[in-house]
């Protein structure tokens, strides 16, 4: 009996101990923001006095390095950048499509040119930007001649020539290669030729204003012919080339020397980069699982540069005391898309006043201020921040009273007092489908639900992953078949700074005959269609701008979409690095100038 009693006493005591331990551990919740953090910024976590049984550094995939490793100066200067995007799916531009792959290409492969945040072109492989004015574009705008620099070399010594570009084009168009995308080559390019070793000629099928932001720039890069042609000839395809996973030659700022899946990529400075060897010796690209891990790494100094930072993380970063926040506009914004297809959406959605009420009922500025620390702007249209947005447009105001009035006028009234408006027996219940999993986004959606509830609209939330929600029309993906009223995602112009988009075209609405259309919003406005089709082939900037002013006005009036916030690239940089700059279009174009403070 007494033993049992003792057991129970100890149980209670232990629980109390546990509880008090936890409570003291949770001691002071908030540090005062102006207290400087005392984190050492140079050396990462201190390992204990471990015995020196060092196993040789393992290389997951040994690379065939023709060039010798750069001899290390006394203190190799290195930078660690963390990314939460997961492994690059391929390190061959033909097969890559993700942002992280683009980061790798920024480091290792030369585009024709890079574009900075002001829209200025910085020549890389090309020496001059072709325009009609300098004669490098033909009068009819269909032939583009690009002079290439002569001192660009691959890291094995081979010269970079126009033949590499032609080969790349051939490989993209070759049916045997399961490339990620053939767009826009298959639509706008008639042919690619090498006039001579260092002069490239591209024939366009028609005047295509976005050629300079999509061909051999951005994620589209030139691959080495001398390495890949033999592979192609032997295997009939490039799909399984080793080079896709472990590129053995580069012509850019750095060379890849180690790649361990799910863990890291290591890049060493490229002596043969045409600008000369970068200041940094080693660039580590570390793949971490999620944002929490990245924040932890930034805090401990294991990481110097955090990528894809969200506004809600900024206070924590500022607390660290040694982080600088950089933003770079990239053409992306988080937009709420509305399904207005009368066949699949709630009847209320076809009424522009109801849509306007939705916009007025959601306090987007509050969301940005509370959830993202006011870091972003609330856009007025899809082209916010560019010259293409009609200048008089302002973001929809927050006006719940007006929203209620509009809804009343539209006949949606709450007659049975259950908090939800109805009309003709139908409740005003809207389905909100979105890609969940990010806590700030989840919170945003939940607060929107509350805001709509405050004006009498009931919102049903359905979250999921992109694989489930963006499944194709044939797989009955909920967005593709219109089983929703509201959704949002971050999107932008594909070839920013080009304003082009074909999201809102009538012929992009998916159907049995055209299951691959991606106008999942049911937007079909003949006037809008006209304008979009016209701008796609308008080479003159001023004319194009006018067209987009029209477009943005039209979309604004009809409340076809509700822009929520801008979504620029946000980076956190440890202040031990100097001369750090980013571009929203070609993020890592400036790494060659980065340096480490002494």
């Amino acid at each position: 009996m007494s033993r049992r009693f003792k057991e129970v006493t100890w149980l209670i005591v232990s629980l109390l101990v546990l509880v008090s331990m936890s409570l003291t551990a949770c001691g002071a919740p908030e540090q005062p923001a102006d207290e400087p953090a005392q984190e050492p910024t140079t050396v990462p976590t201190e390992a204990p006095a471990e015995p020196d049984d060092e196993e040789p550094t393992e290389e997951a995939e040994p690379t065939e390095e023709p060039t010798p490793e750069p001899t290390e100066p006394p203190e190799p200067k290195s930078v660690t950048l963390t990314s939460t995007e997961g492994d690059p799916e391929s390190l061959n531009p033909l097969y890559a499509y993700s942002w992280i792959s683009e980061l790798v290409f920024d480091l290792t492969l030369l585009p024709l040119w890079n574009i900075d945040n002001d829209g200025e072109y910085h020549m890389e492989l090309a020496t001059e930007l072709p325009t009609v004015g300098n004669g490098l574009i033909s009068e009819d705008n269909t032939t583009v001649t690009i002079p290439l620099r002569e001192d660009a070399v691959w890291s094995d010594g081979e010269s970079v020539t126009a033949d590499d570009a032609v080969f790349t084009y051939e490989m993209i168009m070759d049916e045997a290669n399961g490339v990620a995308s053939r767009y826009p080559w298959d639509t706008y390019v008639a042919g690619v030729q090498a006039v001579d070793d260092h002069t490239l000629e591209i024939q366009l099928t028609e005047s295509y204003p976005d050629w300079s932001t999509s061909l051999f720039v951005g994620i589209s890069r030139i691959v080495p012919e001398h390495i890949l042609r033999p592979v192609y000839e032997e295997e009939g395809t490039l799909d399984n080339a080793d080079w896709n996973q472990v590129p053995t030659v580069s012509n850019g700022q750095f060379m890849l020397t180690e790649y361990q899946s799910a863990s890291h990529l290591i890049f060493e400075a490229n002596d043969s980069y045409w600008r000369g060897r970068p200041n940094l010796d080693t660039f580590y690209l570390r793949l971490v699982e999620d944002r929490a891990a990245q924040l932890a790494a930034l805090e401990s100094g294991e990481s110097d540069v955090g990528s894809y930072i969200v506004g809600s993380e900024v206070p924590k970063l500022e607390e660290m005391g040694n982080m600088e926040i950089h933003q770079a506009a990239n053409g992306y914004q988080v937009t709420m898309y509305l399904n207005i297809d009368p066949e699949t959406a709630h009847t209320a959605m076809t009424n522009p006043d109801v849509r306007r009420a939705l916009a007025l009922a959601i306090d987007r500025q509050l969301i940005v201020d509370e959830l993202y620390n006011g870091l972003y702007e609330v856009p007025a249209s899809y082209w916010h921040g560019t010259q293409y947005q009609a200048p008089e447009l302002e973001p929809y105001p927050y006006d719940p009273e007006e929203a209620k009035a509009l809804l009343d006028e539209a006949g949606w009234v709450d007659s049975n007092g259950d908090g939800v408006r109805e009309k003709g027996g139908e409740d005003l219940v809207l389905r909100y489908v979105y890609i969940s999993g990010d806590e700030t986004t989840d919170t945003m959606v939940v607060s929107m639900q509350q805001m709509l509830a405050d004006v009498g609209i009931k919102m049903e939330i359905q979250g999921g992953t992109s694989e489930v929600l963006w499944a194709s029309f044939e797989e009955s993906g909920p967005l593709a078949i219109g089983e929703y009223e509201l959704t949002h995602w971050s999107d932008g112009m594909w070839y920013y700074p080009s304003p082009d988009t074909s999201y809102f075209l009538c012929d992009q609405i998916p159907s049995e005959d055209n299951p691959w259309g991606y106008n999942w919003f049911g937007i079909c406005d003949p006037q809008l269609d006209e304008l979009f089709k016209e701008q796609a082939v308008t080479m003159d900037r001023a004319e194009r701008t006018e067209l987009f002013h029209e477009i943005s006005r039209l979309m604004y009036e009809q409340t076809l979409i509700i822009p929520i916030r801008m979504d620029p690239d946000v980076w956190a940089v440890n202040d031990r690095l100097i001369d750090v700059e980013f571009s929203g279009i070609d993020p890592l174009m400036y790494v060659y100038q980065w340096d480490v403070a002494e």
């Binding site: 057991e7 129970v8 944002r291 969940s436 607060s447 489930v468 909920p478």
Partner: protein
């Protein structure tokens, strides 16, 4: 292993007094088990908390979003603090607790039904039926529950729309999780039931029942099943704890019950990124999970001792 010493002990204690039915004896044994009583007490307290709590806080309280109040530490207005969306955590633990407990209970119902069914059929009929069912059971058992959970949860991802019962809105994912957890936890029980059936069906009373012409179903439900109730009850009780934990795991990974419906598990998911900044977010739901699982484990331990004095894994 039958330890006659122990049963003798029990008889001796009551020698000279009135005799008890097995159920009463079980109850007396249970009551002597102090830990089990503590467990039962804690459990009752928790169930009171989650059910009676809804008298003080409405569901609206639990879901009311107030961005300006987000991430506030415990205060008079919000005794447990607020979460990412400014919702009151106390209210959310109450409503979240309801869901977690319901999921735990119903998932066990599913798994008991499936487990007993399969175990009984396999044990009773033996032969190739037994062989096939047992191989199947082993096969499913071999796959780690979490792996199965993940795949099944995504498989049924959009299956069920939100529904309302008794004025409370439930996300369809609740049903999915119940089914999924139930479908991945029946194996252990099936094994136990089967082995019990195998041994019991050779007993005389079953043979006698057969002689009198009783049909299979009657024998199974009327004769054998009642005699295997003990391990079923014990296993089911402990399973509730596992089910609650399983829900917590899968919600933590983001594949469980979807927001805005709260469960203790997905509250922990939300808290994961705010370990130091807002420790109240994980402390309360985490501790509640801990306490309820603890209570159930104590209770189950006591039940095991009470109902099955022959069991091997005695506490002393």
């Amino acid at each position: 292993m039958i330890d006659t010493e122990r049963t003798d002990h029990v008889w001796q204690e009551d020698r000279g007094q009135r005799s008890f039915t097995p159920a009463q004896m079980a109850f007396r044994r249970f009551v002597r088990h102090k830990m089990a009583l503590v467990g039962a007490g804690l459990l009752i307290a928790l169930i009171l908390y989650v059910s009676a709590g809804s008298l003080f806080y409405s569901e609206e309280n639990a879901n009311y979003v107030d961005l300006r109040a987000r991430l506030s530490p415990p205060s008079w207005e919000h005794p447990f603090g607020t979460d990412l969306a400014g919702r009151d955590l106390l209210a959310r633990t109450i409503y979240g607790g309801q869901i977690s407990v319901i999921i735990g209970l119903l998932a066990v119902v599913v798994s008991v039904v499936v487990g007993v069914l399969i175990g009984a059929v396999a044990g009773f009929y033996g032969g190739w039926v037994d062989a096939v069912l047992m191989r199947f059971t082993e096969a499913v058992f071999n796959i780690p529950q979490l792996f199965l959970l993940i795949v099944l949860a995504k498989f049924f991802a959009e299956g069920v729309p939100t529904f309302e019962i008794l004025g409370r809105t439930f996300s369809g994912s609740v049903v999915i999780i119940i089914v999924v957890i139930g479908l991945t936890s029946w194996m252990y029980l099936a094994r136990i039931v089967r082995s019990n059936f195998l041994s019991l069906k050779e007993q005389d009373f079953v043979k006698a029942a057969r002689c009198t012409g009783a049909r299979d179903l009657a024998i199974i439900t009327g004769h054998i099943l009642p005699n295997t109730m003990a391990p079923i009850i014990v296993s089911a009780t402990l399973q509730v704890a596992n089910a609650i934990l399983a829900e917590a795991y899968i919600s933590f990974l983001g594949m469980g019950v979807q927001p805005p419906t709260a469960t203790w598990g997905n509250m922990l998911n939300e808290a994961y990124n705010h370990l130091e900044g807002a420790p109240w977010m994980w402390f309360f739901p985490g501790t509640l999970i801990l306490v309820i699982v603890l209570a159930i484990n104590f209770l189950g331990d006591g039940l095991r001792d009470a109902l099955d004095p022959h069991s091997l894994a005695q506490a002393d």
